[in-house]
């Protein structure tokens, strides 16, 4: 008899699971029940639709060849019954059936299942604040949201918008609205945007976003929506400041839709997502779950940590695993994610894989080593653009824990390399001699990722004493004694400089100017250049000349997250 598969949810994981199940079993009866109107929406594309990267709304809900992925498509092309505008109201595990309600007709119906797949997704968190009911407040997580914001962008009536929350979606929405000609201010409660980044990497990103005309308020929350005649006119911040705006987009995160699963008595995990094993099977062996409604293992901490990881790529991969297992039994596994995220904002790209330094500490890694490296992403003669890489490793074992990459250069490649290193649990010593694709159009002779590993190795082996820009700033603020040495050329110094009390002695002139340095050999000397490769050479030279307390400021001038004199 044909196997009955019922899928609750029709966005990403659900249709993927259904389609994979179909390819595994031509005879199964497969039904998708979708609460909303649309199926297989490209929801990660919403900001690009709003921002005008493309204007054909149809592309958000069509196959690559332009066929709308509606019920007819699923029926004809996939032999899958896809029921829309229909909500599952109850899972009856004992009798293996679900009750559904047609949201248009309010009719009820029942579907029996042999295997049930829950892909109910997540919903945006919406703050319970005064004024939440005003017109002009939206999220960007549904086709309806995308339609609303696209209309706003096209009509060009709105001058000012506030994004509440500076995470991935907030920053993508910031770009979209700014490109649509709206003056945007991002308000983030934390001291930085993009919390998967360490503070200094986030600050460098904020600088770039601001260059494009957007405002960023960190360390502020929105306490109230203010309006007139039912329409939003501004938001009130925690410091009582009022930002005028006719539009607010809330993006402060989302939480898994688990009510159906919870009501059915399925086990819910520590992070609030549905608990699944590596086969994506819930606590009921006939029910699987995938996508934004589950919680998964993080692979960096060797599965010690559980995570809610609502990402489109993970949802699809999990769906593929479920599609196999509902047909063939538990043969496919999904072990977890290394927590890779990437975000484009104007001409800048920002991403992270694994743990940031702050997250690693939160997860209990006490003995951490990190290194920051900024450099052009190609040889100088090939129109190179800078990228900055921060690496975090377990000092005890030398295993990589996380990598952050930012810049206008090719960030996504370096992040992909990082993700692979984390998947393979590679050690610093596995990474120093990688054979990566090299030709001048694509990378420097020693690829940026590898150079960053070299910096990390130099620190790890005690060859290089690094100091972060944050530590240097703290010492400056505390008026601590130190000698700050910029070893770039005079030309470079004239064009750009920190102005933090540094002395300029170009690297090539150091050996002839040792007498200009502090007499006391134990003076703290902080040395840097543009990216700090020359800084490292200078430090080696100074140490060779008897200085015992020389530190290289990592990332150099390009990694300085504060104001520069010039």
């Amino acid at each position: 008899m044909a196997k009955k598969i019922v899928v609750i949810g029709g966005s990403a994981a659900g249709p993927k699971a259904a389609s994979k199940a179909r390819r595994m079993d031509c005879n199964a009866e497969i039904t998708i029940i979708q609460k909303g109107k649309y199926l297989s929406m490209a929801s990660c594309g919403y900001p690009y639709y709003v921002g005008g990267v493309f204007d054909e709304r149809n592309k958000l809900i069509s196959s690559p060849t332009g066929t709308p992925r509606d019920s007819n498509f699923f029926s004809k092309v996939k032999d899958i019954k896809a029921v829309v505008n229909t909500e599952v109201t109850k899972i009856d595990r004992k009798n293996k059936k679900v009750t559904v309600k047609n949201l248009k007709t309010c009719d009820n119906a029942e579907y029996n299942y042999d295997k049930l797949i829950i892909t109910t997704g997540a919903k945006p968190i919406f703050p319970n604040l005064p004024g939440s009911e005003l017109e002009g407040i939206s999220t960007l997580q549904s086709m309806e949201d995308a339609d609303y914001l696209k209309k706003v962008a096209v009509e060009k009536k709105i001058k000012n918008a506030v994004i509440v929350g500076g995470g991935l979606i907030g920053i993508e929405t910031c770009e979209a609205l700014q490109l649509a000609g709206i003056k945007v201010t991002v308000v983030e409660k934390l001291p930085q945007i993009l919390p998967f980044l360490d503070w200094e990497m986030a600050k460098l990103t904020e600088k770039e976003v601001k260059k494009h005309g957007a405002n960023i308020y960190t360390g502020h929350s929105v306490d109230e929506f203010i309006g007139k005649d039912g329409k939003l006119t501004g938001v009130k911040l925690s410091n009582d400041e009022i930002l005028d705006c006719e539009l607010a987009v809330v993006s402060i995160g989302n939480k898994p839709n688990i009510s159906l699963a919870k009501d059915a008595g399925l086990r819910i995990g520590v992070t609030g997502g549905i608990e699944v094993n590596k086969f994506m099977q819930t606590s009921d062996p006939d029910i699987y779950a995938a996508g934004d409604c589950v919680e998964i293992h993080d692979l960096v901490s060797h599965n010690r940590v559980k995570t809610h990881w609502p990402m489109g790529d993970a949802a699809n991969l999990q769906g593929r695993v479920v599609g196999q297992n509902v047909i063939n039994g538990n043969e496919a596994t999904y072990e977890g994610a290394v927590l890779t995220g990437i975000c484009k904002v104007f001409d800048y790209t920002v991403g992270s894989s694994g743990f940031s330094e702050q997250r690693a500490r939160q997860e209990g890694y006490a003995n951490i080593i990190s290194a920051i490296h900024f450099a052009p992403d190609k040889p100088g003669f090939m129109d190179a653009k800078p990228i900055g890489i921060k690496m975090v490793a377990d000092k005890r074992t030398g295993t990589l824990l996380g990598v952050q990459v930012i810049g206008t250069g090719d960030v996504s490649k370096r992040l992909a390399i990082a993700a692979m290193a984390l998947h393979a649990k590679m050690h610093i010593s596995d990474l120093v001699n990688l054979d990566l694709p090299y030709a001048p159009p694509f990378s420097p002779a020693i690829e940026n990722f590898i150079t960053a590993v070299h910096v990390l190795e130099n620190k790890w082996l005690g060859r290089m004493d690094g100091i972060s820009s944050v530590e240097v700033k703290q010492k400056l603020d505390n008026n601590e004694d130190m000698y700050i040495l910029d070893v770039r050329t005079t030309n470079e110094y004239e064009q750009m400089r920190l102005g933090i009390g540094e002395t300029l002695i170009p690297l090539g002139a150091i050996r002839d100017n040792l007498d200009k340095l502090p007499q006391a050999k134990n003076t703290l000397i902080v040395v840097y250049c543009k990216i700090s490769l020359r800084g490292y050479e200078a430090a080696c030279c100074l140490k060779g000349n008897g200085y015992t307390n020389v530190k290289v400021m990592e990332g150099g001038i390009l990694g300085w997250p504060y104001q520069r004199e010039k």
Copy 2:
């Protein structure tokens, strides 16, 4: 007493080793002896200089900040003595000294060493053919070559050029000269260009190169250079055809410069490069070697195979290892390369990591599985460009052996992912659920590399029977019985089609048109679409309807390396 380090060779590995040694030991006496005039040349940049990507010659021999890397730079900035125009004529291992000859003054001198580093590089192979002495024949492996070809490109007197040899440098030179307005023909003795690719991947690349106006003759060798008044006027091919040209650039490979090492009695390896251990130490423990003059292990075959691997990135990494070991004893290792190469040709990028299918067979892998996948490199709404990925794995163990990537999309990222997978000796099952950086500007929701792994897995597990375009073509040529089924839409069929006797039944119409298919259920049915994802779905459907001999043509229309009807 200060350690004496002598480095023979000043291109890539040599200066890197010297600089690293300096950073490890401030007091060592470090001397580079360079036969030519220049130091630290960016030799991989020559084609881009010739092609006019940049015109400032200085950039080829300068540091990123624009300082020429001459003897003065090495002295001032690195405290390294760099002697140019000076040839080492003899290595006296017993007395640990080298004899050198100043090529300008013809004076001889001696340098004692504690540790000697040989980085003598490789020299282009030049064919011993009639007419080799004619004016107008060059290679592109030295500053002098680059100067000559840049002059040719700028003067615009030459109309036709022949590139002898279609390897990496040949193809880069082809682009450079074509961009300079010269009509270029590449003549390659083998049946394909870029021998690190499998035949069908090379043919797809040839199609692209030809689109930009260059000619490619494969399966032909140049037998004679023809001239008049001492100047080249053409080349004669093995089939007696004469190609008129005023310029010929020879790029048929290079061989390690080992005469000094050989004369000194150092062990030479099976491939003709200097033999080194993993510390890059020769058979004399006081002599190290690195770069294009050594042979290294290949990491794909688990070190069974030795390789001459003259790549700029490998040379630099090896130099860094040597720089550490000459100072600190054997602490750093270089284990080998996974054989990653990449090449840009016009707007197309081509690369490989690990073994191609043909190379894997040559290396003794009898039981191979491969898969080809073509797809856009981003979601359709993000201005996606196609890339094609071919994966080769060991069928017995499921371990990845090699990956080839071609296309106008972001090839280098996918190749970097492949290189990491090969470094980590990853298995198909390690690769199906990779957590790679996903956002619409960077990749489809399921990254192309992962989808290619899915195709490979489907074949490996017997879920999908694939057939290569090459096999289909053979069957066509042999008039073998088969039913060829294109399952794209009518629209797509009107725009582009193979015209090899196929029937069009769009995927969504198959279930309603089963009666149009051959009655005999064991008929060979070859099914495809544009990239063959729909082809795979159709195959699943046909199998479900009792057809027992259904094969998916891998890579679909985009992977078809022959002429199309339309």
